[in-house]
């Protein structure tokens, strides 16, 4: 084969090999590490998978936050006013987490329908609500007054 062609072939082979490695890494990385958002109503309806990483977002139900006295274990409920999901979390809550405010919990559903959260995200400032939460509330037709998607 002509040396120039040979070199081109090598380059093409190298690129093909390298990009398949990269694509493989991407697929492998994506397979275990993305999670889908579910509004509480869908979780209650049994549409969310058990034992997989998911996110659930809604408003924290007034009076639902219960703390353990000897650890950082906390239980609360998230609602979109048409369904309510109990959440358990152990750790430090974000600064802006509070009852009656929007929050997103990431974790896995257990067999009893309780979300075992590994991460809690709360809104960043007074007027802000996670867009997923705002949409979930809108979808359930119970958006609280003045709660837009962002400031």
């Amino acid at each position: 084969m002509h040396p120039v062609r040979k070199r081109r072939l090598m380059i093409v082979l190298f690129i093909v090999l390298f990009s398949s490695v990269a694509v493989g890494l991407v697929v492998y990385g994506l397979s275990g590490n993305i999670n889908l958002f579910y509004p509480p109503a869908e979780v209650v309806a049994g549409k969310a998978p058990v034992g997989q990483s998911i996110r659930v977002g809604g408003m924290v139900v007034d009076g639902s936050i219960q703390r353990a006295s000897d650890s950082l274990r906390v239980a609360f409920e998230l609602t979109d006013y048409s369904g309510t999901v109990p959440v358990v979390y152990e750790g430090i809550l974000p600064d802006l987490f509070d009852e009656g405010q929007g929050a997103v919990a990431a974790g896995q559903l257990d067999a009893n329908g309780v979300l075992q959260a590994t991460e809690i995200l709360a809104k960043h400032d007074e007027n802000y609500m996670p867009p997923e939460v705002a949409e979930a509330l809108e979808a359930s037709g119970k958006a609280p007054p003045g709660a837009g998607s962002g400031s």
Partner: protein
Amino acid sequence: MIAEIGHFALILALCVALLLALVPAWGCLVGNQRAMGMAPSLAVGLLLFSLIAFACLATVFLQDDFSVALVANNSNTLLPDAYKFSAVWGNHEGSLLLWVLILAGWTAAVAVFSAQLPLIVLARVLAVMGAISVGFLSFSIFTSNPFSRLLPNTPMEGMDLNPLLQDPGLIIHPPILYMGYVGFSVAFAFAIAALWGGRLDAAWARWSRPWTNVAWAFLTLGIMLGSWWAYYELGWGGWWFWDPVENASFMPWLAGTALVHSLAVTEKRGLFKSWTVLLALFAFSLSLLGTFLVRSGVLTSVHAFATDPARGLFILVFLAIVVGGSLVLFALRAPAVSSRVRFEWLSRDTLLLFNNVVFLVATITVLFGTLFPLIMDAFGQGKYSVGPPYFNTVFVPLMALLVPFMGIGPISRWKRDTARRWQAELLLPALVALICGLTLPLFGGEDYNVWVAIALVMAFWLTFGLLRDLWHRCGAKLSGLRRLSPSYWGMVLAHLGFAAAIIGVVLASQYSEERDLRMEAGQSETLAGYRFQLLEVARVRGPNYVADEARFEVSRDGKLIARLAPQKRHYLAGGSMMTEAAIDAGLWRDIYVAMGEAVGEGGWAIRLHYKPMVRWMWLGAILMGAGGLLTVADRRYRGRKQPASDTVEAGAHAGAA
């Protein structure tokens, strides 16, 4: 009144930018010397008016003029003056004005420091930069005017700056980051000018290179400052979250890193010309994409100030024009400038090509992970989020693949090299790196940590390879060190910085210990051999907040190490809560304490961290930035006017990447 002057100056800046984009360009087309000659003065004028606009905005912030909507929404009389000033860019409109100012600054810098450029090239470069300025100035004036008034309902008091942004790190982080972001516009303008003129040669690379290096250095420092800020200010003790907005600045950095290396090949060997141009277009397009992602509000983040569809649409159209236009130009012109220089497989050329492929693939995987949720949402496939595990899985192996070759790079020769020479040169460094890297983790902890061992081997491999190369180049004499060029020293510093960053990232991730727990006054806990005693929780008052302060004494083996006082702040104006972590910093380890919320009965949620070597990562980034800046001192970038001829230094052993 001042706000109106600022607004007027901004409009004048737009007019000057229009002139800058059109007049020299027309001059280039018809060959009118006087029109081309106007470009530098117009560039300086653009800077002048942008500076006036910016100074006016800063003044209304410092004067607490709440009749200006931006001030009323983002400042407060209680705010310390330094934060009133940084509040100028702690919001969408103001940060855009900062962007405009820095772009004008770069444009004027090109006009002033490019005396050696042929006039036609300078005029083309400045015209392209003027056109970019037109885009951003009209974005500012038509969709996000920073000077709009709140009349007649002027509030008595402002709504305060987001407390997260009230921090010294945030005074310098955005300007430095923008210096880098916007700085790639210079590389972009040079690339467009080269395509326009149809001349891409070593001289072009030599002109473009110092600007690219400086922009890259600022971007490195800016990202480092952002990471450092997130570490101490967000109260999580994390330093990189793969947050979309972090990615928005990281992608241009990755592409820029490829560009910096590719430019080296183009300058020294006249190779990869089209490729280098494409990278320059790509790096700036990613800067714009980052702006779009951050400013349009399609992404949720601390940085997303504003969600306004009109703004998103504007940037999207601008992005389409810039990316589409430059790619069309590239498609039309690139074949005319391709090169016919040969090189062998074993050569520095190949190694740098490999560097480019790795960095480009890394850029694309990060881009994919960042855009994946947007794509899925757009197709109605649900709301996904792609978390740090994805990015780590993809990014870490790519970088690990890079390092073995990176160690060979500095010592290798252009055009042709031999495996035998590499072996002779690098066998010793490789063996020493292996021995050091594999034995050191034995002292690190109870269990032998394989990842730490791999990271150490890599870092030592880079370091010893560089030392070997240094030893050669200075002729085995210390006095020889002075003869090495600044650009070589820049490369050494940046590569050492990369090695330090590897050590910092891997050791901090592997050896960190952290615990979230409930603590009461008088209680003590032990973490990683350090005893944390909570003495008391007290109320304290700051200039614009009240805070609960937990007072800790940290001791080790009965010896007092540090007194730490993390705070939970309640800001008076906005009513928001903020965590202020307390850190005992050190070169070898950080001790980090943050407060969570009160959990009843005098108990507080407390987060304790022990983070070894975490500073090395930022230290490494500082070295990389310093290296990038140092290269500019090289004499060959400051020559007299040179003819734009193809001066390829073929087969040279002299000089550095």
